[in-house]
């Protein structure tokens, strides 16, 4: 305590002082006892001064006892706590950053139970992390605390080919599971663009989708059962291997809860038969409108492609530089369409799709001749985001949803926004299900440009909502879109959701500061000075 007081005297003088006292009072009230042992001066770089000072005190410390207990439990190799190690867990695939106070690497469910018990004892926030490829800051310890990395819990526990089921630990990499069952003619259908690195645990938390979501559904459609540890330390088994289990669908509730309900320690997933045949078509258009109208008509004709992706001209040029897939550099848009299923059906559907493309003035329609060509085309699509790094120091990928009939109007609007802010915006998206991913390029050294980027992104999302869509299709809300939730949910909706969270996570220790604009738990402390400042329009109270 004395140490803490010294630290307080040293760091906290001036404007943030009163706020600090208020914060400490709440900490005491909530029995948040972890004390400052590690100073993290970088925290002060992050945001408004007084606010970050509170953060430095309240969130940047790790009780020595807790560290000791964690090391005792997991072994010294499985606990990171030095600042130079923690700096590398500040980020994920998004533009957000925040430093945890320690990172732990469980190997078994029992380890996770132990970690949760200790976090509970010390009232430390607890954040799950897979590969850190997420795009909404889901795996970032917004308010410090313990990051639980599941990277070493990466065993495939069971493959039951006859029943098309696999039981895996959360750290198994998405494409590794598909590779492991490929010889059985099976695969794990959710295929986020990051599938070669992202973990199934992360997919479950974010309810990830991917290009083939259009036909195969999102992660929740492929999860049968979960083993989870609640913040109270309770171990639960939700769902079972049957396709429909009686009672409430708690598995469904858990999938997509972004780590705010519990830590998932085991996942039973459905494996999907690889289709007998796949045809991949590349349609090239001279105007964006032609491409978007094609998408609307394909579905109107009653065809459900396995995937229907659109890339605009700018994105194509960025990607082609990397994959050399033969994308034309002078076109306005391409559609990448997969039809799969029985051989005969695929032939018919492919012909039909080709016809629609031609009706809508496609300059050219190519059909991939073999698996190699198909993979190359898809490689172009799956690397579209990263390829933005070739042309710009930073980029911000948005994730919005619109009814697919509104595609032409929305893209025109994005073009206007791009011109208004003088920002380059690339468009790549799951056209079939109206899930947009505008990529806004910026240079993070230019503060004005960054502010414009956020403003432009907000305008795009606002337009999506107006058009009858939503603020996120698959990246999750995380700490990126919490403030946008009121755009689509009423206060009553949000309050109900938070009550649900309260059942599993009453103290708000799990992944605090995510999803909801106003977070319970230690997050509340941090929310206070923010509300005193310029209140965001989206925020209530």
């Amino acid at each position: 305590m004395k140490f803490a007081a010294q630290r307080l005297n040293r760091i906290h003088h001036g404007a943030g002082f009163a706020a600090l006292h208020a914060a400490l009072a709440i900490c005491r009230e909530r029995r948040i006892v972890w004390l400052p042992l590690v100073d993290a001066p970088e925290r002060r770089d992050y945001s408004a001064e007084g606010y970050s000072r509170i953060k430095a005190i309240c969130a940047a410390k790790m009780n020595a006892k807790l560290l000791h207990d964690l090391k005792e439990l997991l072994g010294p190799d499985a606990v990171l706590h030095r600042p130079e190690e923690l700096m590398l867990y500040e980020y994920d695939g998004s533009v957000e950053t925040a430093r945890p106070d320690c990172v732990v690497f469980p190997r078994t469910t029992a380890d996770v139970e132990g970690i949760v018990r200790l976090a509970q004892q010390h009232k430390a926030p607890l954040v799950g992390r897979g590969a850190g490829t997420g795009l909404s800051g889901g795996a970032i310890a917004r308010h410090g605390g313990i990051v639980t990395s599941f990277a070493r819990m990466n065993r495939i526990l069971e493959i039951d080919a006859e029943n098309q089921i696999a039981r895996v630990q959360p750290g198994v990499v998405n494409s590794d599971l598909s590779a492991a069952v490929a010889h059985l003619g099976l695969h794990f259908a959710p295929d986020p663009s990051s599938q070669k690195a992202c973990t199934i645990g992360g997919n479950v938390s974010e309810n990830s989708g991917g290009p083939h979501t259009l036909a195969y559904g999102v992660t929740t459609n492929h999860v049968l059962a979960l083993e989870v540890v609640l913040p109270t330390g309770e171990l639960l088994h939700l769902g079972n291997s049957a396709l429909d289990s009686p009672g409430y669908d708690l598995t469904g509730l858990f999938v997509g809860s972004e780590g705010t309900f519990g830590l998932v320690t085991e996942i039973t997933v459905k494996l999907t038969r690889l289709p007998e045949a796949v045809k991949t078509l590349l349609a090239i258009f001279d105007t964006i409108d032609d491409a978007t109208e094609t998408v609307a008509e394909i579905t109107a004709r009653g065809i459900t492609p396995a995937a229907c992706e659109m890339l605009d001209g700018w994105t194509i040029r960025a990607v082609e530089d990397y994959v050399h897939a033969g994308f034309p550099l002078d076109c306005a848009a391409i559609l990448l369409i997969d039809v799969d299923g029985l051989r005969e059906v695929t032939e018919v559907e492919a012909a039909e799709v080709e016809d629609v493309c031609r009706v809508h003035r496609a300059r050219e329609v190519r059909v991939a001749r073999d698996a190699r060509e198909r993979d190359l085309l898809w490689k172009g699509r799956k690397n579209a985001f990263g390829a933005a790094g070739r042309v710009s120091p930073s980029y911000y990928t948005q994730d919005g949803v619109i009814p697919r009939t509104k595609l032409p109007a929305t893209l025109r609007r994005i073009g206007e926004i791009s011109r208004k802010y003088n920002l380059q915006i690339g468009n790549v998206f799951h056209a079939g299900d109206g899930n947009l991913h505008p990529i806004i390029l910026f240079d993070e050294r230019n503060q004005q440009q960054f502010r414009d980027t956020v403003a432009a992104a907000d305008e795009i999302i606002a337009f999506c909502v107006q058009a009858g869509g939503s603020i996120t299709g698959e990246h999750g809300v995380g700490m990126e879109k919490d403030r946008l939730m009121p755009l689509i949910f009423s206060e009553a909706d949000l309050s109900l959701m938070q009550s649900v969270r309260g059942i599993f996570n009453p103290e708000g220790l799990l992944n605090p500061g995510k999803i909801f604009p106003d977070s319970k738990g230690c997050g509340e402390i941090y929310a206070r000075p923010r509300r005193e400042g310029a209140a965001p329009s989206a925020r209530q109270s």
Binding site: R44, D45, E85, M87
Partner: protein, 456 residues
């Protein structure tokens, strides 16, 4: 690198972002001089994380600090003055294999190999290693490798040790274990009886009508440990219509020095080699070592763009070909006898990831009648050899080797074919340690076997 505020959104929209630049940014960079990682290079990384699962060290330990993304972040943090160029940084940069598997999967086109080599150059100039390490590094990189005659002397000494009965004695008495060298001794190359020095300066005529005139790059350690491989390479080239010149004044390519951050030595060697190969009117400069080839092709990295050597290096690099790449382009014409063998191919990192040559060696292997090529899982994951990695990071290297031998075992192959001397040594050790019994061959050794007039 996006080091933007975490709370910006919640801070009343965008207000929080304004305060992001701060004391930290005005801190001094931990890097100095010319050979340093540049913002333009490392900021290409958008930390998407797609590299993680392809990085051998991340797959071993699953820690960001030992992933490409984490290492790039550390480089950025040192440059921003937020992380000291000290033990932790050095440890994680040292642990990198420099296999560049991450470059293959990086959608943003980050030139990771360049970044890590520059980071190592910074460590070399700005960090004081323990005295023993300094002495050994100085000896190897500055006093030994650049000088063929010294290599020859050292090799004779080592050969004496290996042939005189000292080696079994040292093994049996446990003195190696005492010195902590037991594992390393197993990875030592077997010194040849007949070195590859006499061949330097000679010209080998094409066996058929001349289809190309090539210069052969012979390597440094290979002169005393892979002379047979070098001879086999020349034979295969001759048999396929190449006139082969082995320029006399060629030196070590500088790859090991460059990978270790000793760039001044590497740069000198680059100058010497560019001069040695300049005026021979060669269709190609051919090497059988993927590690050398990768560095030779990147000689321009050693010289700033305004240095006249830069252009010379680019011209030199444009003619460098790995022997697999060259033969595949040229097309095999020599008649071949069947070699009934089930083989698997291990991608050499600096061929697959460094030079992006994947298909050529496979095509050549398939061209040998009787050979059945069975792909192993994760063939393009590093075997742990990585230049001197198996000596400097022996434990990690052996763990990677164990994983590799597991993959090999699944193929039930009788031989492992690869494209780089370092990989051959490591895989031979793997075959011995794990008792899997495969012989290990270079692609050209397999071709040479098919050419050989009599059975082997």
């Amino acid at each position: 690198m996006s080091s933007t505020s975490s709370e910006a959104h919640t801070d009343g929209g965008n207000a929080g972002r304004q305060t992001a630049p701060s004391a930290a940014q005005s801190k001094r960079s931990g890097f100095s001089g010319a050979d340093k990682p540049e913002y333009a290079d490392y900021s290409r990384c958008v930390h998407c994380g797609l590299c993680l699962n392809h990085c051998p060290t991340y797959r071993l330990w699953h820690e960001e600090a030992d992933s490409p993304r984490g290492r790039i972040r550390q480089i950025a943090l040192v440059d921003e003055g937020k992380l000291a160029l000290a033990e932790s940084f050095v440890e994680h940069i040292d642990r990198c294999l420099d296999c560049r598997a991450c470059e293959t999967v990086c959608p943003s086109g980050v030139e990771y190999g360049k970044l890590v080599e520059f980071a190592r150059a910074q460590i070399e100039t700005n960090y004081r290693r323990p005295i023993a390490s300094r002495v050994i590094r100085d000896l190897v990189y500055r006093q030994l490798l650049p000088f063929p005659r010294r290599i020859s002397i050292a090799a004779r000494a080592l050969r004496l040790y290996q042939r005189s009965g000292l080696a079994p004695l040292a093994r049996r008495t446990g003195i190696l274990r005492l010195l902590g060298l037991r594992e390393r001794e197993r990875l030592l190359p077997k010194i040849d009886s007949d070195f590859f020095f006499n061949e330097l300066g000679r010209l080998y005529p094409a066996h058929t009508a001349r289809r190309a005139r090539v210069a052969f790059f012979a390597g440094c350690v290979a002169l005393v440990t892979f002379s047979e491989l070098n001879r086999a390479t020349i034979r295969v080239l001759q048999a396929n219509g190449c006139e082969v010149v082995v320029p006399e004044s060629q030196r070590c390519c500088g790859a090991l020095a460059a990978h270790a951050g000793v760039r001044d030595v590497a740069r000198e060697l680059a100058r010497a080699n560019i001069a040695a190969f300049t005026d021979g009117h060669f269709d190609a400069i051919v090497t059988n070592a993927a590690g050398c080839g990768s560095t030779l092709k990147e000689y321009a990295h050693f010289f700033p763009a305004d240095d006249p050597n830069h252009a010379r290096a680019q011209k030199f690099a444009a003619t460098v070909r790995d022997v697999s790449e060259f033969l595949d382009d040229l097309g095999l014409v020599a008649p071949m006898r069947p070699v009934p063998l089930r083989v698997t191919y291990q991608d050499s990192c600096h061929l697959a990831h460094g030079q992006k040559v994947r298909e050529a060696p496979r095509t050549l292997i398939r061209a040998v009648p009787g050979v059945e090529l069975v792909e192993m899982p994760l063939a393009d994951q590093c075997c742990g050899s990585a230049g001197v990695y198996n000596v400097t990071q022996t434990k990690a290297s052996l763990e990677l080797l164990a994983l590799k031998m597991d993959s090999v075992r699944q193929t039930k192959a009788q031989a492992i074919v690869t494209a780089n001397p370092g990989c051959i040594l490591q895989l031979r050790a793997g075959s011995a340690i794990h008792g899997t019994g495969q012989e290990v061959l270079h692609v050209v050794e397999l071709l040479d076997r098919a050419l050989a007039p009599q059975g082997w």
